[in-house]
């Protein structure tokens, strides 16, 4: 009886296992395969070597998305902290306000930024109405960083808010009671206790930022390439699939590796918190 039950229980997971093999593992193996073959299917290291041409793209992508991530963290942490301290009713309202942009399509959000920053957009119209020089924003790296930060800001605040609001108030009181000034409470208790939220917030901003192609296309005005743009362009043409696969492979390894490192970091830091 018991034996039969565990057997039947296991079976229901099999379709998913099959699905995962077919549509998660197999596609990734294809990326690997394409990265190391020529369009004719012959084994080669050329695609990987060709990545040298994209060094600047890698560097720019990493630096712009890091900048956006730092920007989001510095602006988002205080907000998350203040939100966690508001009355429950206010917290709910602020959460809803934060969710609405999150649920609005990324393209729309980016596009709305464009409406503001365009050469003939609202900001420049206002400037010229005030007889000031118009500013060219679209096409600058600043616009792209701002776009990334703007698009993914809620993804930073949400996990931060969740972890901070879960911190027991009496723990903060205990720190103050033992002589910690407000700044001391912040650095010695609140920050370390919200480290898991920081990690997921950073991940949720950094990963989509480093792989985006839409934001750089729209706000960068096509004047420079990010990793996402490079990949997207290689996949427009069947003959360059292999180079695109190589770039994707390296980016994936980069992202998964940093995720793994960050998770290790939190695991060892507060492994017992779950208890």
């Amino acid at each position: 009886m018991k034996q039969k039950r565990t057997l039947s229980g296991k079976i229901v997971a099999y379709p998913h296992v099959l699905w995962s093999v077919l549509f998660i593992m197999l596609p990734l193996l294809f990326v690997l395969y394409f990265a190391f073959t020529t369009p004719d299917g012959a084994f080669t290291f050329d695609n990987i070597i060709a990545l040298g041409n994209h060094k600047a793209t890698f560097a720019l992508s990493v630096s712009l998305s890091l900048l956006a991530t730092v920007f989001c963290f510095l602006l988002g942490y205080p907000l998350a902290y203040f939100m966690a301290q508001a009355s429950p009713k206010k917290q709910k309202l602020l959460m809803t306000l934060l969710m609405l942009p999150m649920w609005t399509n990324l393209l729309i959000r980016t596009y709305s930024m464009m409406a503001l920053m365009d050469d003939a957009g609202l900001i420049n119209s206002l400037l010229s109405a005030l007889h000031l020089n118009t500013i060219r924003m679209i096409g600058t790296k600043g616009a792209v960083v701002f776009g990334m930060a703007y698009d993914f800001f809620p993804y930073m605040v949400l996990p931060l808010y969740t972890t901070i609001s879960k911190i027991d108030k009496s723990v903060l009181e205990a720190a103050s009671d033992l002589g910690a000034s407000p700044a001391g409470v912040m650095t010695k208790v609140v920050l370390p206790l919200s480290s898991s939220g920081i990690i997921s917030g950073v991940t949720m901003v950094f990963v989509p930022s480093i792989s985006t192609f839409y934001i750089s296309q729209k706000l960068g005005g096509g004047t420079f390439d990010l990793l996402g743009d490079a990949i997207e362009r290689q996949f427009q043409n069947v003959n360059t699939y292999n180079v695109g696969a190589a770039i994707s492979l390296v980016m994936m390894i980069l992202v998964l590796l940093s995720l793994w490192v960050m998770n290790r970091f939190t695991d060892s830091d507060e492994g017992g918190t779950q208890a």
Binding site: P15, F30, Q85, A86, M99, A115, F153
Partner: protein
């Protein structure tokens, strides 16, 4: 909240909302100018509704989101129940890690990896149109699965073992014990997993971009193709309508949630009364 905190919070939300407000405002602009308001009109909405591709895209988006979320919920729930029954810890860990890959991987990698598979398999079996509804559906199911499992599995893990044992003790077969006792208990997780899958599918652009064909366009893809041309306010109109839809959904879910909470409070109060 102290004044300074209030000001800060207000400022951040103000900046967060300016672009959206501007976009909504300019959707009612009477001219095609995107820099200044020349007058109020519904011209761009009429323009939008005059284009048949809008409705096709809307229909496609809904069909896709509904089928992807239903299938991924079924597959994912079964998986969440079944994974725990794997005795071997390593196997269980491996299945869970592979499941989570689409959640961790950049969307663009998920997108191109599936595209490579579809294109290659498609040309192997000699298809002319290799990408289309079926490929985008498979892709959507794949990236929704981890989210469904993520929201159902904690409920499964939280199940009280004696629940199904009690049911079997009272004469249920293992299968009917599952449907009568365990399934209702994990239902909230299934529902929230379904909703999450539905909205993710609705919202996805990047993975769709790589896995769909010319004959199947969704709303995000339509917006993308519209923004490739010069800026015209009919995109504003479409965006405004989508934001309005999201807003209504959010409000509805909030109302439903608070109602559910009231009910919960009521029942717990009643339970307390009975004990007292």
């Amino acid at each position: 909240m102290k004044t300074l905190q209030k000001i800060y919070t207000f400022l951040i939300f103000f900046i967060l909302y300016i672009p959206i407000v501007v976009l909504v405002l300019f959707s009612f602009n009477s001219s095609g100018n995107t820099g200044s308001m020349t007058g109020l009109s519904l011209y761009w909405y009429r323009e939008l509704f005059a284009t048949p591709s809008t409705f096709t895209a809307l229909k496609n988006t809904l069909i896709l989101a509904l089928s992807a979320s239903v299938i991924s919920t079924l597959l994912g729930t079964a998986a969440a129940v079944g994974i725990g029954k794997f005795k071997n810890k390593a196997v269980r860990g491996a299945v869970l890690s592979v499941t989570n890959v689409p959640m961790m991987n950049p969307d663009i990698v998920t997108g191109i990896s599936m595209m490579l598979l579809f294109v290659l398999v498609g040309s192997l079996i000699g298809l002319k149109e290799k990408l289309g509804f079926w490929t985008i559906l498979i892709a959507h199911i794949t990236f929704c699965l981890p989210y469904v499992i993520l929201s159902v599995r904690p409920r499964v893990l939280g199940l009280n073992r004696s629940l199904s044992e009690a049911a079997m003790d009272l004469g249920c077969t293992p299968v009917s014990a599952f449907f009568r006792v365990e399934l209702p208990a994990i239902m909230p997780g299934i529902v929230s997993g379904f909703i999450m899958a539905f909205t993710l599918s609705l919202d996805d652009f990047v993975i769709s971009y790589f896995t769909t064909g010319n004959d199947f366009q969704t709303l995000p893809l339509l917006i993308y193709s519209m923004t490739k041309k010069e800026v015209t306010p009919d995109i504003y109109a479409l965006s405004t309508l989508m934001i309005a839809a999201v807003l209504i959904l959010l409000i509805l879910s909030n109302v439903a949630e608070s109602k559910g909470k009231n009910k919960e409070n009521e029942t717990s109060a009643k339970a307390a009364e009975r004990i007292g």
